[in-house]
Every structure is written in structure tokens, then in C-alpha cells.
Symmetry: C2
């Protein structure tokens, strides 16, 4: 399938990668707003129009970077999950959260690209939806481990949320109780609320020891989804 047919195909792959690399460098240095196709081409010793043979537009380049960023932060989450395979669910949960945060803090501009204001259009391209779900899937999987077998005490669902909860659970995790599925999705978004506030500077002059603050909040999020401190 992905066998390299000839020198030309090989070159195309390499140049595409080089373009993405240089773009990522500029992204990390100056942010998405100042990422310039011409500057990327200039740095690579080619003329700007040549770059359009590889990416049909600036937004397509950005989309490629978005996909890569989703994959990178998803891989970080998966790595933390697999490295804590035998441990208690709550510890695994916090380990995953801390890994996600660590990636975000280390790559603020790439993080802003995927969890900040949507820049290209309003609807995310099709290619991004699978990579975008990786962190969420890890969280679901981590929580699932604690809920196989017996049920855990979760607050009852409000009447009006019943149908939505059932639909949502059937969609993302049919084997889990609806109340848990809802809580998981909420915890998922709240996790990124914590991270975004730190990365985007809203904790400036407010939270100093961000590491400890986040660890405690993430742990509490884990308890919210039914992971017990001991057991």
C-alpha cells in the first residue's frame, strides 16, 4: 500500500514532511497567526508557488498541523495509560491528565491550535475527528476499568437529562451507565478547561503552583467519574 513507487514519490513524502516541520517550527516560535507560507518556502529554499503543489492552501497546511497535534497529545495520553497499566484507576486517571497537561504546557501554540479558537473555518475537516477523539477514548477506557462488575455511587441524573444521557452513552460507551457517560464527557471538557486556563494565561497572578493545583483538580475530576481513592 504505502510502498514507495519511485524517486519522485519518495521526494514528495520528504518534502511534505519538511514543509510540515518548518511550519511547526514557525508555529512554535510565533503562533498560528504569524505562520506564513512564504516564510516557510523561503526557509526551505523554494519559491512560494512551489509549496502549493504540496498543500493547496494555508488552511490545508494548518489542518495537517492540527491532525499532528491531536495525534501527539493523544499519543501522550495513551502512553501514560499504558505505563500505568496495573495501577489503581484513580492513579491512572490522574497520570493521564498530567500527561495531557504536560504536553500542552510544552507545546502551547500547538495546543492553542487544537483547543483554542477554531481558526480555519467553523467546521473541523473530516480528517481531524478521529485523532481528536484519542484523548477522550483514553479517559473512557481508564474510567471503564473501575466500573466493570459492580456499580459505583454516582449522583442521580436530573429528569430532563435522562434521554440525552441514554443517547450519549449509547454513542460513546454502550456498556457504561448513562450517568457515568455524561459525567465523563463533562470531566473531559473540564479537564481542558483547567489546561486552557493555564496555557492561555488566565491563571496569571492567581495560581502559582500550577503543578500541584492541577494534580489536585485532576484527581478530583477522577473521583467525580466514580474512581475511588482506595481500591
Amino acid at each position: 500500500m504505502t510502498t514507495v513507487r519511485g524517486a519522485r514519490a519518495r521526494a514528495r513524502i520528504e518534502i511534505t514532511a519538511a514543509i510540515k516541520d518548518e511550519a511547526r517550527t514557525q508555529l512554535a516560535a510565533e503562533g498560528a497567526a504569524k505562520l506564513s507560507l512564504r516564510a516557510v518556502a523561503r526557509e526551505l529554499g523554494m519559491v512560494s508557488s512551489a509549496l502549493y503543489r504540496y498543500f493547496p492552501s494555508r488552511d490545508d497546511l494548518l489542518t495537517a498541523l492540527i491532525v499532528d497535534a491531536y495525534d501527539a497529545i493523544g499519543a501522550a495520553a495513551e502512553k501514560a495509560a499504558s505505563e500505568t497499566a496495573g495501577q489503581r484507576p484513580l492513579d491512572r486517571w490522574t497520570a493521564v491528565c498530567r500527561a495531557v497537561r504536560a504536553w500542552a504546557v510544552a507545546h502551547p501554540h500547538e495546543y492553542a491550535l487544537i483547543y483554542g479558537s477554531p481558526v480555519p473555518g467553523y467546521s473541523a475537516p473530516q480528517d481531524t475527528i478521529v485523532p481528536a477523539s484519542r484523548v477522550g477514548l483514553v479517559l473512557i477506557e481508564t474510567a471503564r476499568g473501575a466500573h466493570t462488575g459492580e456499580g459505583v455511587a454516582l449522583p442521580p441524573l436530573p429528569e430532563g437529562l435522562r434521554p440525552e444521557a441514554a443517547r450519549l452513552a449509547a454513542d460513546i460507551a454502550p456498556d457504561l451507565p448513562p450517568a457515568l457517560a455524561v459525567t465523563l464527557v463533562a470531566a473531559w471538557s473540564q479537564l481542558f478547561g483547567l489546561i486552557s486556563f493555564e496555557v492561555f494565561g488566565h491563571f496569571h497572578n492567581i495560581v502559582e503552583d500550577r503543578e500541584a493545583f492541577f494534580a489536585a483538580a485532576a484527581r478530583r475530576l477522577g473521583q467525580d467519574v466514580g474512581l475511588l481513592p482506595r481500591g
Copy 2:
């Protein structure tokens, strides 16, 4: 102080407001990335260089819009708080949260300007920090109502978070127990995690009944900060 000295000063105020209005219109229509000084000037029947008499740069115009957006969402929160003055703390809390969300959903691009990726530089200008704190202050005030007098059961702080919690509480709410102050700040950021995920499209194909979902999550956040369902 703000007395209008003459016709010229009056005109300056009016033109400045007109520029901001037109800029806000373009922001709402196309987003911050496509906000163009030249287009604003064109729409106002003036030449682009004239606009620089009122805003020294594009970033300064954006900063003015940022301040206005913080003020608007802060006012929405304060309105909800004052309109529910006599009610139970948990109901007030959810009312405030829903008002904040409603403003965000109604003004997605302005919301993205203040809670999305920071666009101008990395450090927010001085003028923004006071308006930026309004929503947070309302949340603190709402929670304070339930904690005057007796204490409410809050999970104990982890050992490592003790000093940070004390410092943080002394900073933002010296009369509240440190554990509550920490939880409040976490809930604050998690609230915007919920809203950002909705506004930025991360709930696409996942959460359908966003209204009910948010109401339940916000209520739960209120319980996290110690507001009791009954009482």
C-alpha cells in the same frame, strides 16, 4: 472628569465608538482573524490611515474589543446574580453559569477573543485584567453566601497543595477557607472548559442537548464548591 470639552472631543468619542462598533460587527461576522482595519475604515467612509488617529495599531483595536467583551460577559454574570438575589445559593450559582454560557453562545467570536487562543501577544495588556476578573468575582460572591457562618464539608487538601491554597485564598478571598478557594478557582476554569468545548465545536456529534447537559454540569460544579441542593 469625563466632561466633553468641545465639539472636537465629542466627535472623537463618537468616531471611536463607531470604529469599535463596526469592528465588532466584522468580528461577529468573520472572526478575529479576518478583522481588517482597512475594511473597517472603508465601511465607515474614511481612509485607512485616518483610523490610526484613534487606534495606534490593529492589536490596540482588538484589545479594546477584548475589554468590551470581558465587560459584557461580566455584566451578564452580575445581572444573573442580582436577579436571583434571594434564592438558594446553588440555584444562584447555576443561574450565573447559564447566563455566562448564554452570552458565549450568542457571541461566539467575541467569546473566542477572550477565552480562546490569545492572539495579540502572550501577556494581556494591563487594561484587561480588571474586566477579566468580573465573572470570577461573581462566582466567589455567589459561593460566599453559602459559607458565611457554618462550614460545609469539603474534601481535605492534599499535603502538597496546602501552602499554595493558603496563598491563593489570601489573595482572592481571605475570608474563605483555603480548600474552598482552590475549589472555586478550579470550578471557574472548568466552567469555561464546558463552555469552550460547546462554542468551539468539540461537542459536535457528541452532546446534542447542550442546554440540559450544561445545566447539570454547572449544578454539579456548584455542589463541588459546597453549595447544597437543599437549604
